[in-house]
């Protein structure tokens, strides 16, 4: 009897430390953040002065925050869509029995390995009109070439998108390739016999089968896009002005350089809410799926 009940308790004991710490880390700090957001904390956390929702009110009155949100919208859509599109395209092409597939795969994937702390400078050069691509084209004699997105307020965020896609497309490629490789070969054979052309086979049969892969890739990428911080910091630091600011950098600047911790906390709450809006449905499906599988 003892053995039996011990076996029942042991698993719980084993995961307890991780979960206690993990939950403290996630939810404890989340609550802590929530509390801060209703105080007037500035340089340091300060729990004495309760100001209600004042920080949230100021937050939504700030042009910079609205710009950050708008940028997040633009960035997420283009970054997730772009990475998906490029990654999946590359995966489809790579799946055509390509020579040097291993090498190419590594080339597409390596940006994942590098932080923007490392590649930021190179990117800044490449995108900078007077140092990078534009200059290169001019040097090569293509005088009308124009590429100054980085320095224009309304286009700087697209530079961030380009760099973001550069970093993540390989990941999308890897997942899609994995998905493609998992498809039963005979399905493609059947479609060929049924008379479908190659583009149709991909469009009508393979892409629909890959939907779960697409879904999880989109999920991973979209949460990365909400968390994206290094990318923006290293590339534009939110500039020019604050035109490429995103919520993560906004929160960082407010909390750490501006001495407006309360405001920063309020923006963090908004970010967490956004994350929750994406994650909770996913969690729900994850938890609900197959209640008694095996």
């Amino acid at each position: 009897m003892f053995m039996k009940s011990f076996e029942n308790v042991l698993p719980k004991l084993v995961i307890a430390p991780g979960f206690v710490l993990g939950f403290a880390f996630i939810y404890g700090f989340m609550i802590w953040n929530g509390v801060l957001s209703v105080t007037s904390s500035r340089m340091l956390p300060n729990y004495d002065e309760f100001v209600g929702l004042e920080q949230y009110v100021s937050l939504w009155e700030m042009d910079r925050w609205l710009v950050a949100l708008k940028n997040l919208g633009i960035f997420s859509v283009l970054y997730v869509g772009g990475s998906m599109f490029l990654g999946m395209g590359l995966a489809i092409f790579l799946d055509q029995k390509i020579r040097f597939e291993g090498v190419l795969r590594t080339v597409y994937l390596y940006p994942m390995a590098l932080s923007f702390i490392v590649t930021g400078t190179a990117w800044k050069w490449i995108l900078n009109p007077s140092l990078g691509l534009e200059k290169l084209m001019h040097d090569l004699g293509w005088a009308s070439f124009h590429f100054d997105w980085l320095v224009q307020s309304d286009t700087a965020i697209y530079c961030v998108v380009i760099a973001g896609i550069w970093q993540s497309a390989g990941f999308a490629m890897a997942l899609s390739l994995a998905g493609l490789r998992g498809i039963d070969d005979s399905i493609i054979k059947a479609a060929q016999i049924d008379g479908a052309s190659l583009p149709r086979i991909y469009w009508r049969i393979i892409l629909p089968i890959l939907r779960p892969v697409v879904f999880s890739t989109v999920l991973v990428l979209s949460h990365l896009s909400i968390k994206s911080f290094d990318l923006v910091m290293a590339l534009t630091a939110g500039g020019p002005g604050y035109s490429s600011d995103v919520p993560a950098t906004f929160m960082y600047v407010m909390s750490f350089t501006r001495g407006q911790i309360g405001l920063g906390a309020a923006s963090a709450t908004m970010m967490l809410a956004t994350v929750a809006a994406i994650v909770v449905p996913y969690l729900y499906s994850e938890l609900r799926a197959k209640p008694h599988e095996r």
Binding site: A190, I193, D194, A196, I205, I209
Partner: protein, 356 residues
């Protein structure tokens, strides 16, 4: 719309240079219009490869291939007017059953109305009308199998190819689907090539059976032929369950004097030759005979209900005997064995080839 199929000198080599493997070695088969040809053979013998070549999914290295008299080498699968059923069914998982069945028609630009009509016809034939809106994942194995058949039938092709379509089903369902396929073939009359490694399927379904091994055609003939007059010991052992009993021995004398003697016994049988031979006898042609001199110990009694199989250890190895269920033998009994003598299969001891 039944078409003939002409396969001549087909070779297939995978890989190049040192790594080249010859998977098919000069296969010649002719299939008459409306025939149901079975390809059997052990795993890896090249059955699927041959089928893929017929379908146009692989190119043969060498050889001739004609469907309805038309050379189809180099013709795309879609243009060959064939339909194929796969072991894994290969249903499109994201489409409904109706869409699965209608896909080939859609690709051939059949107008929607006509397509729907055909889908319903086929579904009615297979009794899956109530499933048309489901996804493959919501179907049972047998239902999936039916949908896969429906997909192939919808187009009313010239040629039907099946690659082990039943091997993912359980025993009971397999028996039912076997009958179903046979029925559909009778109704449609479409020329079919059917790959299996289940010899019962081969026996019951085919109008002719082609037995393959290591890329070489061993024998081709009607089920009856193959069962009663196997061309070599390989085919003899492969077809029939329980498997044929082989008795290695020596024939001395000719005509009425001929004696077949072997370890632990001898039999007076009409023998085709003298010297070392192997006698093949199916379990149903060996009998328990209390008076026989050839004796052995019963080591296993397997009652299947309708019959009981008795396995006897003799000087030439284990011999399986089919007996009526009423037979009362027990493990450990020593029994005598006799052969009827009318169903002898004689093989050369060396080459394993059939003698006469």
């Amino acid at each position: 719309m039944a078409a003939s199929l002409h396969i001549a000198g087909i070779r297939k080599v995978f890989g190049k240079g040192a790594k080249a493997v010859e998977v098919l070695k000069k296969i010649d088969i002719d299939v008459a219009p409306g025939e149901f040809l079975i390809l059997v053979g052990p795993s890896g013998c090249g059955k699927s490869t041959l089928l893929n070549i017929i379908a146009g999914l692989e190119e043969p290295t060498e050889g001739e291939l004609r469907i309805a008299g038309k050379n189809v080498i180099g013709v795309a699968p879609a243009q060959r007017d064939i339909a194929m059923v796969f072991q894994s069914y290969a249903l499109y998982p994201t489409m409904s059953v109706a869409d699965n069945i209608g896909f080939a028609l859609e690709m051939r630009k059949v107008p929607k109305a006509a397509r729907l009509k055909r889908i319903h016809e086929v579904a009615a034939m297979l009794q899956i009308e109530q499933l048309l809106d489901r996804r493959p994942a919501q179907l049972s194995g047998g239902q999936r199998q039916r949908v896969a058949m429906g997909r192939a039938l919808a187009r009313d092709p010239q040629l039907f190819l099946f690659d082990e379509p039943l091997s993912n089903l359980d025993a009971k369902l397999r028996v039912e689907m076997r009958a179903e396929i046979k029925r559909l073939h009778l109704v449609s009359g479409i020329t079919s090539v059917y790959v299996t490694h289940d010899q019962i399927e081969a026996m019951t379904l085919g109008s002719r059976i082609a037995v393959m091994k290591d890329g070489i055609l061993q024998q081709i003939g009607t089920p009856d032929d193959i069962y009663r007059r196997p061309a070599n010991t390989y085919v003899a052992g492969f077809i029939g369950s329980p498997t044929m009993n082989f008795i290695a021995g020596q024939v001395d004398g000719t005509g009425a004097d001929a004696v077949f003697s072997f370890e632990g016994g001898e039999l007076r049988l009409p023998c085709p030759t003298v010297g070392k031979v192997t006698l093949g006898q199916r379990p149903e042609h060996i009998h328990l005979d209390p008076d026989a001199t050839w004796r052995g110990e019963v080591i296993l009694v397997e009652p299947t209900g309708a019959d009981t199989y008795v396995v006897v250890r003799t000087g030439v190895g284990l011999i399986t005997v089919r007996t009526p269920p009423s037979t009362q033998v027990l493990m450990g009994d020593v029994v005598g064995l006799s052969v009827s003598g009318r169903h002898n299969n004689w093989f050369d001891a060396q080459s394993g080839l059939r003698l006469i």
